[in-house]
């Protein structure tokens, strides 16, 4: 087993562990932190495959977006920010361990000394740019699914708006037409009540 395979299994083990913790952690903040670890590890595996664009994209997009999601969790669960600040020291050990793991992964993937694969087994031949190739494929061979994906995103937007937009609160204007047609009995209702004696 060469070093690359070792790194792969190491990253995979962390990925599976992190993914498991995402669904088993009771604390939503723990779950979000593990999700970040999972995405990061996933990026590491892609970097191992020499797909550096995807690796960077997942970290920029997902880890960035997950931070937003994390904020949403805080907002929606109505967690007091002060209490989170107080909990900072409680979360620090876990956060530090996860952060260290990420740094270690980065080191393993990027320490080029062991990882320069021989040119013969390179997945990507020398002189070919990953980004350029993805861009070319996306706008040529994959243009049909690419356009459809944009429609999927549009549907997602429409769905989100339909499901959350409740409309403006009706303003309190009076309709002159209804005012003209109003009758006395619409304004006053005469109730007959039995007279109470004593």
């Amino acid at each position: 087993m060469d070093f690359q395979t070792l790194v792969f299994y190491f990253l995979s083990a962390i990925l599976v562990f992190a993914a498991l913790r995402v669904i088993t952690a009771r604390n939503p903040i723990h779950a979000a932190l593990h999700l970040i670890l999972a995405f990061f590890t996933c990026g590491g595996i892609w970097a191992l495959l020499q797909a550096e664009f995807l690796a960077i994209a997942i970290i920029l997009v997902y880890v960035g977006a997950v931070m937003v999601l994390f904020l949403f969790v805080v907002m929606m669960l109505d967690v007091n920010i002060d209490r989170i600040r107080q909990g900072f020291w409680n979360y620090l050990p876990l956060g530090a361990v996860l952060g260290l793991l990420m740094v270690m992964e980065m080191g393993l993937v990027l320490s080029s000394k062991y990882l320069q694969a021989p040119a013969a087994d390179a997945v990507v031949p020398a002189g070919v740019s990953n980004v350029r190739e993805i861009g070319r494929l996306m706008f040529t061979d994959f243009v049909y699914p690419f356009e459809l994906a944009s429609i999927v995103l549009l549907v997602g937007m429409i769905a989100a708006i339909v499901l959350t937009y409740r409309g403006r609160k009706p303003s309190k204007y009076t309709n002159p037409n209804q005012q003209v047609f109003v009758k006395a009995k619409d304004r006053i209702r005469v109730l007959k009540m039995p007279v109470e004696k004593d």
């Binding site: 040529t140 994959f142 049909y144 459809l148 999927v152 549009l154 549907v155 769905a159 339909v162 499901l163």
Partner: protein
Amino acid sequence: MFDHFVVPNLLPAAPEIFLALMASAILLIDLFVKDSRRTVTFALSVLALLGCAAIQLWVAVPDVTYTFSHMFVADLMSVLLKLLVYLTVIVVLFYSRAYVIDRGEMNKGEYYVLTLFATLGMMVMISANHFVTVYIGIELLSLSLYAMVAMNRDSLAASEAAIKYFVLGALASGLLLYGMSMIYGATGSLEITAVARQVHGANVNGNLLVFGLIFLVAGLAFKLGVVPFHMWIPDVYHGAPTSVTLLIGSAPKLAAFAVVIRLLVSGLLAAANEWQDMLIIMAVLSMAIGNLAAIAQTNIKRMLAYSAISHMGFMLLGIVTGVVAVVGADGTVGGDISNALDAYSSAMFYVIAYVLMSLGTFGMILMMARAGFEADTLDDFKGLNQRSPWFAAIMMMLMFSMAGVPFFIGFFAKFAVLMAVIAAGYTWLAIVAVLFSLIGAFYYLRVVKLMYFDAPTDETPIRAGLDMRLLISANGVAVALFGMFPQSIMALCAAALVYSHFPH
């Protein structure tokens, strides 16, 4: 840099492009339409679908055409199924119009736009020749449907159904993608025709392929709603607004059939020995659980959901037996092509017949519903004969057809599938299918009994627009008429499959 790239031929995909443009245009036009004049949006949506049908007929060629780097395939099967999808969605729109208007929450332009995008998703699925396009088509369809199920926000049942549908749908997509990536690992291609060549050439990692196949079949089974991946069907059919249930229960079945044919028959026919056993188990379980559980239901939408499960199981039999006929005893692909053709066209006929019946039955529930009244329990059908003999008769025809009573279209659909099963030498499977159909007849006939022999609990006369009355009458008559002349549809199915999958 782009010297080897050929600009794709857009003509075969013209209906898809037209629908995408129209849906986006309707989304914008609807902003200027007042709530009270929503008919404009409705009319535009119907016109868009009619335009798609016209373009489809205009661009249709009998050959198999690939475009977009072999990601899109246009063949006669796709033309026929897409035309049926347009027709079905138009009928769905007409049936659900009054229902949607009565429920102000859903009477928005987005309802129609999402319907159109769902239709686009079905079209993409039907014409997919690449795992990525299959997946994106399924997602486009499902995402629109999730939103439509949840659209009635004040209904707790609808929200619950939407969440269940969404979570299980996401799980199914995950399974499907996992299977696809494994098959990609085994064959080195995502394009269905290339996968077929690789698997046929037998230079693939067999274990990996089977591993992927299991996940692929599980994902497909989720989308088709067959046992053991059927849990979402009753809850979603029951909880969703009836107009959305009508949409979920009709046109997507045509698209799902196309995807099953494309993935399993066009793509992985050489691995048929592997998947046919899985399909047999799922088919038998679906017929058993679907038909038995339907008996216990008091809500007619839930009952029809279980009936949908059993019908999809029955349809799978056709796909299974087509393969049995093709794969020889020594495991080589070959054998009698005409048997396979019979089996696939019987499955296709079954799906078309089911969609026709399902449209009519859910349409009937929609017609009886009023503002604030859903008409979705079996008791609501009590004494329908006294309230409206004509519509009771149509409902009776639909129920007889679903049960497989001769001579309605449902009978011939079952008959054709059973013939294919027996021709493939699976007599025991045919016997099991007939037994469960007999059990199933009980709950269909119970509806007929309620309509004719029980006193009505609700004497309100049935009010519906002229378009609704005409369409639902036509739907009922079609079930009877195509039951007497099934050859017309059968010949269409066979021709479509011959030109698409067995080119001479």
